[in-house]
Amino acid sequence: MGTGPIKQIQRIGLVLSAAPGYSETFFRNKIEGLQAQGFEVVLFIVEGSKKEPIDIRCDVVSAPKFKGSALQVFVQSVFVFFKALLASPRVSFRHFQLDIGKGFPLGQCIKRLLQNAFMFGYPLDWLHFGFGMLAVGREHVAEAIGAQMAVSFRGFDLYLSPLKHPDCYALLFITKVRYHVLSYEMKQDLMVHGIPESAIYVISPAIDVQFFKDSTGSFESKTLVASKVLQIVTVARLHWKKGLEYSLEAMTILKKQGVPFHYTIVGDGPEYERLVFAAQQLGIREQVTFAGSLSPDLVKEHLEAADVYVQYSIQEGFCNAVLEAQAMGVLCVVSDAEGLSENVLHKDTGWVVPKRQPLLLAGQIQLVANLDPLVAKEIRCAAIDRVQRGFNLEEQQRAFVGFYL
């Protein structure tokens, strides 16, 4: 199965940690796109709370939660175990057999069976794990139910999770899997683990280019005047991997060099205290606004007012926020972290600066601030055109249909 045009409805099981929230366009778009193309989608939720509102029009199946006292966990486990044996005896046996075949001890085999049994009763053509780590411990589910297995790597799971959990993908990487990654760099990094090139599909993220577009035409008239306050924006979660401390250090250099600027960081997150302290200690607290998490409408407003967009990440799968900024015609300066140098083409649609070097970032921002208006317009147009054509939702949906064929 899985070759040629869709002759019959394909059923895709999508495994996520939680139901996608209202603002998580990636999975929502993917589900809606597949449904529009005649696929049936079943959503498997492995960690999310049942209290979360789920407004997606597809079957949603949640994993049982083994919690409470030891007795409660035991009773629940016995119930799940016998339910699996009675409802899906062949799949359960196959799963067990595959685990034993890979050398898992008996206790582990039972534990893995209990953890995965909630997916056994669904005949699927594809079982697709939304993040790499979700496939860990579930490597044999697809084969047991007779489906093909797909795994998406999004960045964090490929680059950071293995540092925290060494060898976590050892079994996954010897299992027959079709991989989806966000960038060619990620593809190369995955191939290092012995994954054949043909099994890895690069499907870039996409944004709503109808929403994120310069409706006012303001960028046409936008010129960077040396005397005015340069408006710099970053949209990012306040997380160390976004490299915001380095960004703030670059802003300090700009201040020392007498560049009038204001830097707005849109987003919240665990590093708020660290970043506010850094801004204060670096003497740029007045030049920095922490705007917090904002609605797409307000993000758009900030982008409309921005002269330069900065994404100086330490680790980045691809980054939708940079696509949105480009689509709005904002000049983008990004780091060379993983997918970013494919997101922004250096000197064509923006600028790519080596990461962890605030001096270089400050220098690049200054160059951009003093850019010839015609060159700036050329770069803005090239960025808008590239994002509109190559990173729209329709394009992504088409790519995903192709992924399963």
Binding site: W240, K241, E273, Q281, I314, Q315
Partner: protein, 391 residues
């Protein structure tokens, strides 16, 4: 003869950090009656003059504990109890937990109530209404960055600091920080942390090695600035220098794990979990150079320990570090947030002749003996307690 003082030391938990425990022991040796309040994790062996009055965290224990002090206060000091209850109500803290915390202090009525962590200060202002003097230690995150990132904390400090009877500042720099929130300068007493120098076992000079052994010790927290030393390590590696860098307490922090991997430093850098006090002393003693890349500190105890142990120190010039280290004389100071400066300082150390390094080590040890002996710390704290209680 002076009346023996009754000092309550409150850090929230019993036992507390190494340095607070050292203070407790030192005060008891000076004949001071020390009272310890807070959650009792486990009771270390204290001398007779230390009374442990904490409570276990089980509900039953807390209930019995509250019952006991409610009865004692209700029967013998009912008016005081009613005044305290009124205070707690006024501050919206008339819950049972607040009473568990406050009733025993009211019953014991020490001369001085010494709060170790500033964020909890407002909970204890009431003690002054009962003639108890309030002393606050200025240390750590509570002063260094919490009020900067959290305007509510800063506002609370501005409300409460002017009322405090005495401040114990672990450095002059942190004392100045407190003055920004209304601490009256004449009430700020700088008492440096002290080491038990008798227990410091200076290691015999480390074995010769072409590989420079660098070490940092501290919890996995951004304030420790390890990203700067790791960036500096990359510069050192690129310069061709052979070195090993151990971060004790840096394990399990994915930011550092990724940075090590990203910069290709897997062979040079080791991230180790937190170790026992003895093991840390041993590791510092074996190292050639201790790096303190913190973006903020009071005075880092680990630097004092390294200097006492005869290990050279490169420290950022943050907080009160310049009150201990004089650059090129008894250690090395570099600007904060500057990887290049850290790398250059390490190279500078490596280029110095052994005789010069030995002189720096000797001066470092002399600084610790003169300024950071436990006896000096205890004497300083006693002077502070006596001053506030005589007012």
């Amino acid at each position: 003869m002076e009346r023996p003082l009754k000092i309550a030391i409150y850090s929230g938990e019993i036992p507390s950090t190494t340095f607070i425990e050292r203070l407790i022991q030192g005060l008891s040796r000076e004949g001071v009656a020390v009272l310890l309040f807070g959650v009792l994790k486990h009771a270390p062996k204290y001398p007779e003059s230390v009374r442990v009055l904490g409570y276990c965290s089980s509900r039953f224990y807390k209930f019995m504990y509250l019952l006991r002090y409610s009865l004692l206060l209700g029967l013998f000091r009912n008016q005081d109890k009613r005044r305290l209850d009124a205070f707690l109500r006024a501050y919206g803290r008339s819950d049972l937990y607040s009473k568990v915390k406050c009733y025993p202090v009211l019953w014991q009525r020490p001369d001085v109530f010494h709060v170790q962590w500033a964020k909890g200060l407002e909970d204890w202002l009431w003690v002054q209404d009962f003639g108890i003097k309030l002393v606050l230690s200025l240390r750590g995150a509570h002063i260094n960055y919490s009020p900067i990132a959290d305007p509510e904390v800063a506002a609370m400090y501005r409300r409460c600091f002017p009322k405090v009877d005495g401040f114990h500042a672990v450095s002059k720099a942190i004392g100045l920080e407190a003055e920004q929130y209304g601490a009256r300068p004449e009430r700020v007493h700088v008492v440096y942390s002290g080491l038990d120098l008798k227990s410091v076992d200076t290691p015999i000079s480390s074995e010769d090695s072409k590989i420079l052994r660098l070490i940092s010790v501290g919890r996995s927290h951004w304030i420790k600035g390890y990203s700067y030393t790791l960036d500096a390590c990359k510069l050192l590696k690129d310069s061709g220098m052979g070195f090993k860098y151990l971060i004790v307490g840096g394990a399990n922090m994915i930011e550092y794990q990724y940075q090590v991997h990203d910069l290709g430093l897997e062979l040079e850098v080791e991230l180790l979990e937190g170790q026992s006090y003895e093991a840390v002393q041993h590791l510092i003693g074996r190292a050639d150079l201790l790096l303190l890349p913190s973006v903020k500190e009071g005075i880092a105890n680990v630097v004092l320990e390294a200097m006492a142990l005869g290990t050279l120190v490169v420290s950022t010039n943050c907080g009160g570090m310049a009150e201990v280290i004089r650059d090129g004389e008894n250690g090395f100071l570099v600007p904060i947030r500057d990887s290049q400066a850290i790398a250059e300082a390490v190279m500078r150390v490596q280029s110095l002749p052994e005789s010069k390094l030995e002189a720096i080590r000797a001066k470092a040890q002399a600084t610790i003996t003169a300024q950071h002996d436990e006896a000096i710390m205890v004497k300083g704290m006693l002077a502070l307690y006596r001053e506030v209680s005589s007012e």
